[in-house]
């Protein structure tokens, strides 16, 4: 079945991206580079994992009819995806601004334009 193959590919991409986010939090030297790893990888990975859930539940929805419980599950999973995609970059921006204003400097940085702008 072609839908199962697409679902497995989406699950594989999502799991690898979430594992990369977890490893990147340990490998990077700095708050800002850790923010880069932890936010973008989890956003992209959650897009693929919730897409896999939606593909499976919509296929069950189409075969079983309109009033199965999978219809509610697919719509609510889509709402959860929208919420994650809206809130995750906003909180990342807030963390980065708060970290820079609280005095944490980037490690091994040569040019810091935000510091120049403040003076």
């Amino acid at each position: 079945m072609i839908l199962n193959v697409i679902t497995y590919i989406c699950i594989g991409i999502g799991c690898v991206l979430n594992l990369l986010a977890a490893v990147g939090l340990h490998r990077f030297p700095d708050v800002y580079t850790r923010l880069h790893a932890g936010t973008k990888c989890t956003t992209f990975g959650s897009i693929f994992l919730i897409a896999a859930v939606m593909i499976q539940s919509i296929s069950v929805w189409v075969t079983e009819g309109a009033f199965s419980s999978q219809s509610i599950l697919s719509i609510h999973a889509f709402i959860a995806l929208i919420v994650v995609m809206l809130t995750n970059p906003t909180s990342a921006h807030a963390i980065g601004r708060a970290a820079h204003r609280s005095g944490v400097r980037p490690a091994r940085a040569v040019v810091d334009d935000l510091e120049k702008q403040k003076q």
């Binding site: 986010a21 923010l35 932890g38 807030a94 963390i95 708060a98 944490v104």
Partner: protein, 83 residues
């Protein structure tokens, strides 16, 4: 099909909890907490698909909104030193 994905995400959560415990500065811990919240939301959706329960996905939506508010408040606290 879905339960191994949830176990894999739990392993990722354990790896992130190490960074949450040993982060050198407070923004490091906040970054780890934000990443942890996103992975918890995704694993709640996966568990709702695995056990065929819609209420888990509803809990995931509310958890995402509340963790967003929590992250903004902690970022404001880090920025100014007080609320």
């Amino acid at each position: 099909m879905w339960l191994p994905v949830a176990i894999f995400l739990a392993v990722c959560i354990l790896v992130i909890l190490i960074r949450l415990a040993m982060g050198p500065t407070t923004p490091d811990r906040l970054v780890a907490l934000d990443t942890l919240n996103t992975i918890i939301v995704v694993s709640m959706v996966i568990l709702g698909m695995a056990f065929n329960e819609v209420i888990y996905v509803d809990v995931a939506i509310v958890y995402a909104l509340l963790s967003f508010v929590t992250t903004l408040f902690i970022a404001k606290y880090i920025e100014k030193g007080k609320f």
